[in-house]
Symmetry: C2
Subunit: 434 residues, 2 copies
Amino acid sequence: MVPVTDSALRVALLGCGVVGSQVARLLLEKPEDLRSRVGQQLELVGIGVRHPDVPRPGIDSALLTSDTAELVTRADIVVEVMGGIEPARGLILSALAHGASVVTANKALLAAHGPQLYQAAQQAGVDLYFEAAVAGAIPIIRPLRESLVGDEILSVMGIVNGTTNYVLDRMTTEGMSFSQALVEAQALGYAEADPTADVESYDAAAKASILASLAFHTEVLGAAVHREGITMITPEDIEAANDLGYVIKLLAIATLVEDEVEQVSVRVHPAMVPLDHPLAIVRGAYNAIFVESRNAGRLMFSGPGAGGAPTGSAVMGDLVTVARNRLRGTAGPPLTPYTNRPVAPIAEARTRYYISFTVRDQPGVLAQVASVFAKHGVSISTVRQTALADRTDTARLGIMTHTARDGAIRDAITQLRTLTVVAEPIRSMRVEGH
Amino acid sequence: MVPVTDSALRVALLGCGVVGSQVARLLLEKPEDLRSRVGQQLELVGIGVRHPDVPRPGIDSALLTSDTAELVTRADIVVEVMGGIEPARGLILSALAHGASVVTANKALLAAHGPQLYQAAQQAGVDLYFEAAVAGAIPIIRPLRESLVGDEILSVMGIVNGTTNYVLDRMTTEGMSFSQALVEAQALGYAEADPTADVESYDAAAKASILASLAFHTEVLGAAVHREGITMITPEDIEAANDLGYVIKLLAIATLVEDEVEQVSVRVHPAMVPLDHPLAIVRGAYNAIFVESRNAGRLMFSGPGAGGAPTGSAVMGDLVTVARNRLRGTAGPPLTPYTNRPVAPIAEARTRYYISFTVRDQPGVLAQVASVFAKHGVSISTVRQTALADRTDTARLGIMTHTARDGAIRDAITQLRTLTVVAEPIRSMRVEGH
């Protein structure tokens, strides 16, 4: 437990990019206001950057240092907004070992090394807060950690990556291809030059792992999250979804699977969402998260999912909280999990699919197809047959399943491929939000 | 500061109605799970009720007592879900004076005596938590108190009363009159036998005062909130709004008014909301709240606004938090305001209006009407003239204003009434959500 201090709390900032410069601004802009909120002055003692010689508008250059290892040893609170695994991980561990509280926005680090960091904070008796790591300024970490702590969360589902939401949005509204929409997003600064982390869903998977850990009080690493990207989505997929009354969104989904043993299922993939579902109208770079719990029912949180100012706001909220905790010689609720629920393989997830493929237009085909699904225990909700413009002997079949084991549906699809009456391309996509 | 205890934390429950019975169930159902979350056992030591002889299913009758004054003296945490001003106020003050932490769902009490209770909790160094007092299970108090504490909130706007939302919803979708919809809501248990608190907006005003106090760090009592009910809304109002692309909702609105002196404007009234606004699609007994802040941008929170289980979930979240705080010998962030921003009179609010009235259909009328608005500094956005079926010498004029001082627009309406070319009925309603 850290000692209560009568002097100013020393804050060290690691990183001065889009988010870091906003945090510096908010720290320096209205110090008296901040003092009222905290109950004590916050003093920015240094900003760790790679190139301290580069001048930063509005920031005293004497604050800039590249000696981050030294900087974290002379702070009461370390704010890490540099991103990446190292040196962020080492610096945070060093800060915690020196008794400093830590605020971070680093989802990749938490997804990879969260358990180690949570334990280090707990051992040191100090805070590790990270509201900004998921969904920008939307308060979702604190509601999961605190507001819903007396309830039992059943599922968390949301749009947690603004870049892919923007790309899919443009594909939907403008009929663009994935590549066209991506190039536009890059030109507007919504996507990175190397867009892999976003479009291959690594970013969303990291956030899903953090949300799942907190919602289900168990250890979920980012690497354990089933992950599918959006690069294979075609304008035809989007049009076909729209014809059926759906829109394609990249969803992060974490659910409690209540079989004999309780497991958690955590997955990130594109899915068809009904047009009248609240997630369907989440546009552009916005994020939205649904939380369903045993007693509270279905709650929704939405807002700007990224950007310097919103993320800076989330960091400042955490900073004020950990500063207050420090002044009282205490720390927030524990982060170390108290259950041991394993992460279920993707085959155990419960979902619906829409599957479309070409068939010979002859008697008995539907019976053959239906028997494949029946054999795998998958119920069919609707079947839709569309004539092909250029062929009279074949047709396109669209099948919407009922909810079933993901593995069972995919096994059925695999067997469909072996039928002589079925021809490629077989397209399939999960359907969520019913 | 309360001493850290090694023995079970004693919980006293005041009230065993819709919410109280849920809280009792959640406390008794999974004690081991709760112990993991808190870090210590919670022991329900008694339930204060008016009639302890009435048996309650699932509850040991030995727990029931009518001696609430005695009960609160032997608890570490008192959960007040009895409602009303007295005896709730006296019991909470007694509990705080005895060093107990308090969780309450009592919005009417907080709206009337919040400052006294906040101060009593602060003096005793114990917690007073009340997430359940506003918007059921939707976490809104904690985000305002903690997540956004490093930001500057500019406005809070939402649907915070499920009863009136249900009534307006039925009027909109079924064309019912107010009375018809109210009778239906009463039959379904969504409205009380005496619906005054809901339909005259006392309930929403109480919630608005709590939200405004926290958002703007100043003292706002329920009685200071400008309050208009929904009893005068007619099916014609709803139809006229719909023709223009709007729906009528009862809104609670709190804004920071940044004139020479910073003031807060807090009001509850029906308003026209654009059909494509997220608040327009909040249906039935659901609640939704928008929070706009300087850095975080616009956040939205929605979910079930009432009901035993959702409200019970919010109470349990608070209960776990105050129990954890107690075990660490600490308390949550202070509730006493640190600014002294006065509540602005309704005339100082900034809003738009839609005003409709009958005029003589003759040259120069529009010029006369427009000059009245101009004289009061109110810009007109659109004018819409509709012929009346049964008359050729008169027409109905509909005027949408731009944003202006509420007082200026109402002065303009008063002067309109004096024009000989203008005839009653003059109908007017505020327009929000642009």
